[in-house]
Amino acid sequence: MKLLVTFSRKEGKKPIIAQVVRDTGVLVNVERALIDSSEGEALIDIPDESCRIVKDKLADLGASVRILEEEISLDETECVDCGACISICPQEVFSFDEEFRLRMDAKRCVLCGRCIEICPHGALSRRVDI
């Protein structure tokens, strides 16, 4: 399960994710992180069963947390199976099947947004549910 964590760094530069790992013992996979001097946003992947405990801990530490249900969504009527998205995805989400039809492994997506930007046919979008 993926969580989008946003936190401010006003109260010093606390290593918030590291603290969560230490205190909960849950192994957190950081898939994307954007942190500047005052604010941070991180996309983390955790085992589903640890959702509650990790969310609570993050909230205690002053972060806000959103659960990302859906990663990236493909509009099949717009997609022409060109494959332009395949080589540019850092997570290797896309591939062709034997028939050169686009195949997606959306679970791997970290929502970097690259494919949304470059799909010549506007077939990819971010579908974020809470």
């Binding site: 022409v80 199976d81 060109c82 080589s87 290797e92 690259r114 470059i118 010549p120 046919h121």
Partner: protein
Amino acid sequence: MKKTIHQINERIRDGNARVVTAEEMPAIVAELGEEGALAEVDVVTTGTFGAMCSSGGFFNFGHADPPIRMERVWLNDVEAYAGLAAVDAYIGATQQSTTREDQYGGAHVIEDFIAGKSVELRAISRGTDCYPRRTITTDLLLENLNQAIMCNPRNGYQRYNAASNSTERVLHTYMGMLLPSFGNVTYSGAGLLNPISNDPGFRFIGSGVPCFLGGAEGMVIGEGTQASPAAGFGTLMVTGDMKKMNTEYIRAATMHGYGVTMYVGLGIPIPVLDVETVRSTAVKDEDIWVDIIDYGVPARDRPTIGKVNYAMLKAGHLEINGEEVRTSSLSSLRRARRVAEELKGWIESGKMAVCLPTRRIDPGRRAAPMRETVQGPRVLEIMDRRVITISENEPIRDAARKLLKGETNHLPVINGEGVLVGIVTTYDVSKAVVNPAKISHVKDIMRRKVVTTTADEPVDIAVRKLEKHNISALPVVDREYRVVGMLTAMDLGKLFGGRWLK
């Protein structure tokens, strides 16, 4: 053994012609041999579906009352060429909307028309005695037009060089997104399904020959623009009736950072008359080679990184400098196959017959580069030759002094040999003053990654570097990487009142 076009058309008429796609042909030849395949196969169908910028269409809108001689025409805010008779216009696929930029263009107008959507026509005129009206605005459907004739000056490129990028930044090109340091390879084309690759001698593809265009029955007009068949890069000019087309095979697209283009489905049936045709239609992906071009070099003659064939490209990954690199096609093989399959169905059912060209395309033609009689400006002409540099071991204070005295914001940093090793800006120096840590020398604060230009580089390319990196000055270096000048945004002002800057 030889067959005639009439024999083949007779079989098509009788419904017993043997039609196969170009993808099936190699296996048939391997199994039956060339003579056997000649006896067996009557027509080979080809197909391709990819971005074809050189596309567009002629429209005739009919006359309004009172009539107007349209001088400028916009369709959904995309300008069409109206330097034709009163109510004719040509819309080019890559023309962009005046209101929605690269999100909507000529290709979208065409797709919207074909999809049955309403398109707004706006036109203006200065008014004449016979055409008094000056403006018109009206909503049109494809069925309201007298003609909507797709006419694409350059389609169906025989093959297309693949693209990669040696630089350290992302490039957005018409070949798609190219990741830094050869991070990926992009390519276009259907390989063995491509029409011209199945008839590189243009024995059967030529003027008047029927084709599949955008889902409709179309026709090859003849040689396409920029055709270079002698070098293996033939192209075709094709036409078809937009009213019979289908959005499965005509799709507007936007190449990010490049602009609007149109994906076109094109296929041509090739009658199998002799062994030579059997051989040419048995072409395999392994036989069709292209170069991988380094788009990091912004010149017409970009360097080649290596050679690959379509089998390697379609495999999904390649090796460059010992590293595995993923490939992306920009055209759709799946849809190219559909074109060839659909065309096969048309011929099997007798909907389309074959014919020989009424005029042959010259397979010996080679495209020439542009003759340029006026050379664009070079960095040399406008650079500032008074270069103030600083050595990496001088104190920051001296850098500040030089910046002030030289009335400049950029100081190239050189080493003992006079070679450029970094750059410091007013900003770097101010920052060092505000945070007085232990650092005290230029080498502690300089930026080591310097974007440079050379004296003979075209100004347009230097400007692109300034824009891309969001910087305001470029050191001009010679072969030995010594600084011979500076090019700043201010120098660009010297060129025709700053026309070179956006």
